[in-house]
């Protein structure tokens, strides 16, 4: 494990963060005003409440970071504020489109702003409660249990609701929630804590095959359990995206913890087998694959993916301009297909910029993992960053027809409370690890009294 270089001087960089936060706010507010200009030709009347709300939230998070995590990475927060603001503006724009078409759903912008506030509250709470990420390791199995319970919730008869064929929703009166989003976070902590302990035996080499050490047969237990769990999500919840995400996450952490590429081979084979099996067994998987390979074979069944493609093509290089395209033609243009909506109105240029922002979030996360000094922190940061990357890849790739479409939310952009709250918590945790990593090492004063006593920092 590489410690920080000798020449490293810990710097807080909060000024740089503030500057970037202001820039990010300009993106969100600019988009919001752009929607007003594009739709009706004038600046939206509620620009002060909406803009003020967003600015307040952004500056609040920044202040909290100054207070609770002064050494945290200065780029992460501005990145997600830009994404969240852009998503809000786009949802606000789609509200107009939906109202225009007289559709009964929506408006979504108001609730999304509320959910952003709740997400920010969660962000603050995580930074406040988790003062040292290493203490989470103590609750490894608690998190594991919570993750399993969260995943099982939607299957309960009264609470669980089936939406569009996927049973991933929990409904409590007017509130509905996707527990899978939070489960993802719990699983990262559980996998990391588990692997910190078990990584030594799992790293033992078994048979060698084409230059890669395969793991020993008797160590296959955990990966098989993770695999079955993923398949369970697929079979019982019909949630292709989450299934893929959970298994990919476990596989990556297993590889990083053991440094054995053999696990990737084993996992890859299991994934291929699972994918093939589910393709043969489930109609909805076949439908998704067919819609990916040749959507124009059935313009009714694959209406959504076709409309997404049309929208992006219509956007072209520079886009129709906010408020000037037809994103609402695509079903779920405000949630699952918000990437296509953004591509339509902001063009290839805008979509590429958004992908770069996502890539930067992942890059900051992995950088945090690299410089982190403890194994648990490394694994958690890697897990969070990679799951974020996987999720973006699966959902944006699915929407843009790079891979078969699977239902996952687009982090920070698409409409949905659970996703926003979970992703703000992920960023909080990454910033906590980053703060821990970049802060100056505690000064160890030579103790006068007892030589046998060691300095233990307990907080």
């Amino acid at each position: 494990m590489s410690a920080l270089g000798a020449g490293f001087v810990p710097r807080k960089r909060r000024g740089a963060e503030l500057y970037l936060v202001v820039l990010a706010l300009a993106v969100g507010l600019g988009a919001y005003v752009g929607v007003g200009l594009g739709v009706s030709g004038d600046v939206p009347a509620d620009v002060y409440t909406f803009g003020g709300g967003l600015a307040l939230l952004a500056l609040l998070t920044h202040a909290v970071v100054r207070w609770l995590a002064p050494y945290a990475d200065p780029v992460l927060l501005p990145l997600v504020i830009a994404l969240n603001g852009l998503g809000l503006a786009m949802i606000y724009r789609i509200d107009f489109g939906l109202a225009d078409r007289g559709q009964s759903v929506g408006p979504f912008a108001g609730p999304q702003l509320t959910w952003t506030a709740i997400g920010v509250a969660g962000f603050v709470a995580v930074l406040f409660i988790v003062r040292d990420h290493r203490r989470l390791q103590t609750y490894t199995y608690t998190f594991g249990l919570v993750a399993i319970l969260l995943l099982l919730l939607p299957l309960l008869p009264v609470l669980g609701v089936e939406v569009n064929g996927a049973r991933i929703w929990v409904s409590l009166g007017p509130l509905s929630f996707q527990p899978g989003e939070i489960a993802k976070l719990c699983l990262v902590i559980f996998f990391a804590g588990y692997l910190v302990v078990k990584r030594e035996p799992l790293a033992l080499a078994g048979r060698r095959f084409i230059g890669i050490d395969l793991p020993r047969g008797r160590d296959l237990g955990p990966i098989l359990v993770a695999w079955l769990l993923s398949l369970g999500v697929l079979v019982f919840q019909r949630d292709l995206g989450s299934s893929l995400l959970f298994f990919g996450l476990f596989l990556v952490l297993l590889y990083v913890a053991t440094e054995r590429a053999g696990w990737l081979v084993v996992g890859g084979l299991l994934f291929a087998a699972g994918a093939y099996f589910s393709y043969l067994t489930f109609d909805h998987v076949q439908l998704r694959v067919q819609g990916w390979l040749d959507p124009f074979s059935d313009t009714d069944d694959y209406f959504q993916i076709i409309q997404g493609q049309y929208g992006m093509a219509h956007g072209g290089l520079l886009g129709r301009g906010l408020g000037q395209g037809d994103p609402v033609m695509t079903p779920y243009s405000y949630s699952d297909f918000i990437a296509a909506s953004l591509g339509e109105e902001l063009g290839l240029a805008g979509l590429m910029a958004i992908i770069v922002v996502y890539a930067l979030v992942v890059e900051r996360g992995l950088r945090t993992a690299l410089v982190c000094r403890d194994t648990f922190g490394k694994l958690v940061a890697t897990g969070l960053a990679v799951s974020f990357a996987l999720q973006v890849f699966v959902v944006v790739g699915g929407v843009t027809r790079l891979i078969p479409l699977t239902g996952l939310t687009t982090p920070f952009l698409s409409y949905g409370g659970s996703s926003l709250v979970a992703n703000w918590a992920i960023i909080a945790l990454l910033m906590r690890i980053s703060d821990q990593t970049r802060r100056p090492a505690p000064e160890v004063r030579p103790l006068e009294s007892d030589d046998a006593t060691q300095v233990v920092r307990m907080r």
Binding site: M1, S2, V252, Y255, V256, A257, E259, F296, T299, I306, Q309, Y310, G311, M312, A313, H314, G315, G316, L317, L318, R320, G325, D326, M329, G343, E344, G347, L348, L351, M352, I355, V356, Y358, A359, V362, E363, L366, A369, L370, T375, K378, T382, A385, V386, A389, L390, V392, F393, V396, G397, T400, R401, L402
Partner: protein
């Protein structure tokens, strides 16, 4: 543990790069293909909310976009709908675009590359892009003469008429009756448009079919011009004596080709000029047998038969000498083909091209209907220049044919097209399509014969109220051709 993290970082990089490459594919490389798909409502919506350029005839816009206060900003309006229906076509939200609205869509909608500079200016000024306009070669008086001539025949006449400038290939008139009202299909009241579409498709007169260029019919005796051209190019002279008897028999085949009248064509031996003047079936059947299938086909092709792309701006049916993939013709079939029967079929446009080729010293110019493409600010982006299609016959042969066709007007079947003081060259045709149906009446001509300005083909498919025996090219179609020629010459 940092090495696998770095490898994972590379993995993430690859995923994001793949997303970006794919976005480039969808939004740039494949975008034109996706935008061109006909169920793509976005492109249609965008075009409907844009000001579409007008289609102009002389100084009038026959199709234009008027501001509209319904869900789209502009309503496509056709100012003389029936007269120009088969040229403008329609621009419908449900049924797409047709004819010039379709083939010139790039210019009219403003997406044509020639309008690129305008688009950039619109983009910078954040104006909605506006379309350019298209000016047609149509002479409004010739168009009206053709339309009125055909519609005045009788209640439900079907037919077509085409006038060309033989020197350039400009289409001066192109009419198919019955016409239809494209305004009803362009209506933003989609129920109304749907009803109109249903009515048009149920109409026994099949008004959506353009009989002037999208349909082919047996040209009958007007095809004797092609046979005569082949004869003159293969050693015959206008005064060569040919078979003028009452019947043509074939060795070993019990078929006899007779003249329309049943009698001889005036004498047992007549000149080629006389044969054309009286439209002698036996004479041309005999000549066709003498020339053979290959010579006739070559001559027909030289006038544009067999060419799928004769007209520059609009789709056109392929005129044929024989049915596609037909077996070689036997002697009676060759003779029948030589008089425009059997499987010979031509569009009225094609027959106008035959006349125009003869009129233009033997050179067929490629027909075109778009004379200029203009930007939204009316500056000319492109003016069409005439283009040679084929050398059909030598100029000597063309001159001989012209003289023979003049005789058809002065001493033969085409007297109805004579214009006082102007030499006219013409040929009539009455094509037997089938025993149950009335024969088709044809008339092709050009004038003035000594300095041709206009070549015409008129085709009357079915004139209700005209007795079967009264159907003749000279009687029904000749006066229409005359009116069209006069309207051009007197301008």
């Amino acid at each position: 543990m940092n090495r696998p993290i770095r490898i994972m970082a590379i993995g993430c990089l690859v995923m994001f790069l793949a997303l970006m490459v794919n976005a480039n594919y969808v939004q740039f490389l494949n975008a034109d293909e996706l935008n061109a798909r006909n169920d793509n409502r976005r492109v249609l919506n965008a075009e409907f909310s844009r000001e579409r350029g007008p289609i102009l005839v002389a100084n009038d816009s026959v199709a234009r976009s008027d501001p509209s206060d319904d869900e789209f900003e502009y309503q496509r309006t056709y100012t003389q709908p029936e007269l120009y229906a088969h040229l403008t076509g329609y621009y419908s939200y449900i049924y797409g675009a047709r004819d010039l609205e379709q083939s010139e869509n790039g210019v009219l909608s403003g997406s044509d590359p020639r309008l690129f500079v305008n688009r950039v200016i619109d983009l910078v000024g954040s104006e909605q892009p506006t379309g350019g306009s298209v000016l047609l070669t149509i002479d409004p008086r010739a168009q009206r003469a053709a339309y009125e001539g055909l519609t005045n025949l009788a209640g439900n006449t079907t037919g077509a008429a085409v006038a060309l400038d033989p020197n350039t290939g400009e289409i001066l008139a192109m009419v198919s009756v019955p016409g239809y009202d494209p305004n009803r299909l362009a209506s933003h009241d989609l129920d109304e448009a749907e009803k109109a579409w249903q009515n048009l498709n149920d109409d026994p007169g099949q008004p959506l079919r353009d009989r002037s260029r999208e349909e082919i019919y047996p040209p009958g005796s007007t095809f004797k011009l092609v046979t005569a051209a082949a004869a003159l190019s293969n050693g015959y002279e206008p005064d060569t004596m040919v078979n003028g008897s009452a019947a043509l028999t074939f060795k070993g085949i019990s078929y006899t080709l007779r003249n329309q009248s049943g009698d001889s064509c005036g004498a047992e031996r007549i000149t080629l000029t006389q044969a054309l003047a009286v439209s002698c079936n036996v004479a041309f059947g005999d000549i066709g047998r003498d020339l053979g299938e290959a010579a006739l086909r070559d001559q027909a092709d030289a006038f544009g038969f067999g060419d799928s792309d004769v007209i520059r701006d609009l789709p056109a049916a392929v005129s044929q000498f024989t049915a596609p993939d037909a077996d070689p013709l036997d002697e009676p079939q060759t003779s029948l083909s030589a008089i425009g029967q059997f499987d010979v079929a031509a569009s009225p446009l094609q027959m106008a091209m035959v006349a125009a080729g003869i009129a233009n010293n033997g050179t067929v110019m490629r027909p075109y209907v778009v004379s200029e493409v203009r930007g939204p600010d009316l500056d000319v982006l492109e003016a069409t220049s005439p283009e040679r299609l084929h050398e059909a016959v030598s100029s000597d042969v063309a001159a001989e044919l012209t003289q023979m066709m003049e005789t058809v007007v002065t001493d033969g079947t085409a007297g109805s097209a004579a214009i006082p003081g102007v030499p006219v060259a013409a040929k009539t045709g009455t094509a037997q399509s089938s025993a149950e149906r009335k024969p088709y009446a044809w008339f092709v001509s050009f004038a003035p014969a000594d300095n041709p300005q206009v070549a015409v083909a008129v085709f009357v498919q079915d004139a209700t109220g005209v007795a079967r025996t009264d159907v003749s090219g000279g009687g029904l179609a000749g006066p229409i051709a005359k009116a069209m020629m006069e309207s051009v010459i007197s301008r």
